[in-house]
Each structure stands twice: as structure tokens, then as C-alpha cells.
């Protein structure tokens, strides 16, 4: 049996509380607040305490789904990205680039957020970028 402890940062909001993931045999068992963390000092809110639950949730989407005729259908990543790109192109052509907005997330890393705004500004041509912590 292998039990490991992985230090990490809570991905819910911008505060950046320190958490410790307890895994047994590769499965995430629980989230423990990191006692010595300078930001949170061993305290967490209810969201941080339950970080491990959405990873193990059976409700989690693991494959891309495309809505066709009102129903979600499994598809490949390539096809899903192609469909998304085509639809964006249509919308931009018809209503202009400012008809699109990009919502980034505290659950993503700094670099991913950077890439998202790059996509919005350089590819879509819009400044409509906002963040879930402001919603």
C-alpha cells in the first residue's frame, strides 16, 4: 500500500490557501489544510475542505460532448475543437468579434489564464475577458 501527501494550492479562489492531498494507492482520499502555509495558516473554508470530492465525482465530464439536435453526444477532441472553431468563426463573421466574451477561471493556472486572454485578444479580436471571481 502506498500513501503519499501532495502539497498544493486550493484552486477555488484567488486567496491561495495551502492544502495537502492525501492519496492512498493513487486515489485521492482527503484534503488536509497545510498547517505551515503562510497564506492560510492551517485553515480552510468549506470549498477547500472538499477539493477531493469533485475529482472523484462520478458526475465529472471526462470526454468532450457535442450538442446535436438537443442531445449531448460523445465525440473526439479533434472534432469538438473543430466544431467550436467553426461556430466561433460564424459568430464573428455575422456579429463581429465583440460578440464573444471569454470567462477565465481561478481554477486554472496563471499560464492557462494568460493563454485564454491571448486567444481572446489575438485570435478572436476582443477585449471581453473576465474572471469567475468577479461574477
Amino acid at each position: 500500500m502506498k500513501c503519499t501527501f501532495v502539497p498544493s494550492i486550493c484552486s477555488y479562489c484567488g486567496t491561495g490557501c495551502g492544502v495537502l492531498f492525501e492519496t492512498i494507492d493513487g486515489k485521492l482520499i482527503s484534503t488536509i489544510p497545510m498547517k505551515s502555509h503562510p497564506v492560510s495558516g492551517g485553515k480552510l473554508c468549506i470549498k477547500g475542505w472538499n477539493l477531493h470530492e469533485h475529482i472523484n465525482s462520478p458526475m465529472r465530464l471526462k470526454k468532450p460532448l457535442v450538442k446535436t439536435f438537443g442531445r449531448f453526444i460523445n465525440t473526439s477532441w479533434d472534432e469538438a475543437i473543430q466544431i467550436t472553431a467553426d461556430r466561433f468563426k460564424d459568430i464573428i463573421e455575422k456579429y463581429g468579434p465583440d460578440s464573444i466574451g471569454v470567462l477565465v477561471s481561478a481554477k486554472m493556472s496563471n499560464e492557462e489564464n494568460y493563454l485564454a486572454q491571448k486567444l481572446a485578444r489575438a485570435v478572436f479580436g476582443t477585449n471581453n475577458v473576465d474572471h469567475c471571481a468577479r461574477l
Binding site: K2, F5, I29
Partner: protein, 265 residues
């Protein structure tokens, strides 16, 4: 200490050993194994405390045959006693390596995150309950003042469930605090004082006064003091010293034999 752990792992006394080591600049729990025995050199006793015995119960739940060693301060040891009494850990499969504990009048030289406690802010001392207060002082307030002061503390609650989640002796599969008919879901603050008093009542005969709940409380509610009072009542009424007695708690009403015997007068 390191030699002992190596010995235990090598001769198979334990399958794994729960201790601490530095990881990313933080003293964090670590699971030492025979395969990576050289890591034992990094074993350390730190001021930070984690509930290693709670991790041991997670391991034991997955493999009841597993022999687990762990570093144990006095509070860990008391928790292990309670967990074995409640059949969450097997007495013969848990090996505690005792280490130094909280600084206190009895033990001036010790490593512990709790006892060094910061000074309570003056506003909290004025209107609420000072976390560093002892039971007698907290009992000295008039009933009305007690009510006002404790309600001030309880109304701060964020309902994060941290006190329950971190508690080494909270292991029930179903928790009263999550029962929708008893504690209404989706309301903040939770119904007070019932939320806290339900938990306090459930701590009778279980709380081993480790203080992890208060450490984890983002709102600084003096939970340790509250549960200490509960523990004192259990001691006075039933003569049961939680964490030190080896008998079943007087308040365990499940099973065939019910033993609610009061302390002899």
C-alpha cells in the same frame, strides 16, 4: 528515533511508518516504507501537528491487516486510545513511537504548534470568549453574559465543517451535522447554537483535547474550551477520563450491553 523506525521497517514490525519530513519547504506528513528506507534519514519531529492517527484509520479501512507505525505526541496517543476503543484501529496493528509534546507547566521543553497561542485581541476579550481562558474563568460569567458571549462566538461560524473534518476521533459514516432535518442545509450562519452544541454533545467521551479543531477554525471560535468543559462533565459525572481510560466510553449506547454507570458518590 530514526534507528528505531528503520528497525521496525526492516524487521517487519510495521509495514509503513507515518511521520514528518520537509517537503517543498514545509514540514509535512510522510509515509515511510521499507522500499525507500533511506528516506528515514529525513524523518523529523516538527512543531506542526497533523492528525496522523486519522490517516492511519484511512489506511486501516482499506487494508485491516496493515501494520502501521506512527509518531505520537501525547495528543496522538490519546486519540489512538479512543480510536482503538471505538474499533477504528486495531490495538495489535498500531505501533506508536512517542515523542515530545506540548509545552505546559508539566513539560516546559516541547515542540507543538498549539500551546504557544497568540494573544487574543482586545475586542474578542471584551465581547466574546478568550480562547486562552480556563474552564473556571469561563464559568464565572453570569448565565446571561455567558449566553451573549458564546452566541457572539457561534454567530461567526462559516459552517466550513473544518472542526469535524480535522477531528481525529470523528469517524462516523453518517454525521448528524449533515442531516438535513436536524441541521438545515444551505443556510449561513448555521442554526446557532444548536450546530455547535450538537457537535459538543457528540464530543462527550470522545474528545481528547488535542486542539486541532480550534487550530483549523477560520473564525477562531474557542472550540477547545467548549469541548474541554464537556470532557470535564464526563469526568465528573461518569468518572471517565477520555483518552486515558481503556474501557468503552460510558456514553456508547450501541451494542448489546449498555453501561451508563455513574461515578460512585
Amino acid at each position: 528515533m530514526k534507528r528505531k523506525v528503520k528497525e521496525w521497517l526492516e524487521d517487519g514490525t510495521v509495514d509503513l511508518f507515518l511521520g514528518y519530513r520537509m517537503n517543498c519547504g514545509h514540514p509535512l506528513p510522510h509515509c515511510f516504507t521499507k522500499e525507500e528506507i533511506d528516506d528515514v534519514e529525513h524523518l523529523l519531529v516538527s512543531r506542526t501537528r497533523y492528525s496522523l492517527e486519522k490517516i492511519a484509520t484511512h489506511l486501516a479501512k482499506r487494508d485491516p491487516e496493515l501494520k502501521i507505525g506512527l509518531l505520537a505526541r501525547d495528543c496522538n496517543q490519546r486519540a489512538i486510545n479512543v480510536l482503538t476503543i471505538w474499533h477504528q484501529l486495531d490495538k495489535d496493528k498500531i505501533f506508536a513511537l512517542n515523542v515530545n509534546c506540548c509545552p505546559s507547566p508539566i513539560k516546559p521543553q516541547a515542540d507543538c504548534s498549539y500551546m504557544s497561542g497568540e494573544q487574543t485581541s482586545s475586542y474578542k476579550v471584551q465581547v466574546g470568549i478568550d480562547n486562552l481562558m480556563d474552564i473556571e474563568k469561563a464559568d464565572d460569567f453570569s448565565d446571561q453574559e455567558k449566553n451573549v458571549r458564546w452566541m457572539y462566538e457561534f454567530q461567526k461560524c462559516l459552517k466550513c465543517y473544518g472542526c469535524r473534518n480535522i477531528c481525529p476521533v470523528c469517524f462516523c459514516a453518517e454525521c448528524t451535522l449533515e442531516h438535513k432535518d436536524l441541521i438545515g442545509p444551505g443556510r449561513l450562519p448555521p442554526q446557532i447554537p444548536i450546530f455547535h452544541l450538537v457537535r459538543a454533545a457528540h464530543m462527550a467521551g470522545r474528545c481528547i483535547d488535542c486542539g486541532l479543531c480550534e487550530d483549523a477554525c477560520p473564525m477562531d471560535i474557542p472550540l477547545r474550551l467548549l469541548y474541554r468543559k464537556v470532557g470535564e462533565i464526563v469526568k465528573n459525572v461518569f468518572d471517565y477520563n477520555t483518552g486515558e481510560s481503556s474501557e468503552q466510553s460510558p456514553l456508547s449506547l450501541l451494542g448489546e450491553k449498555v453501561s451508563l454507570s455513574l461515578k460512585p458518590m
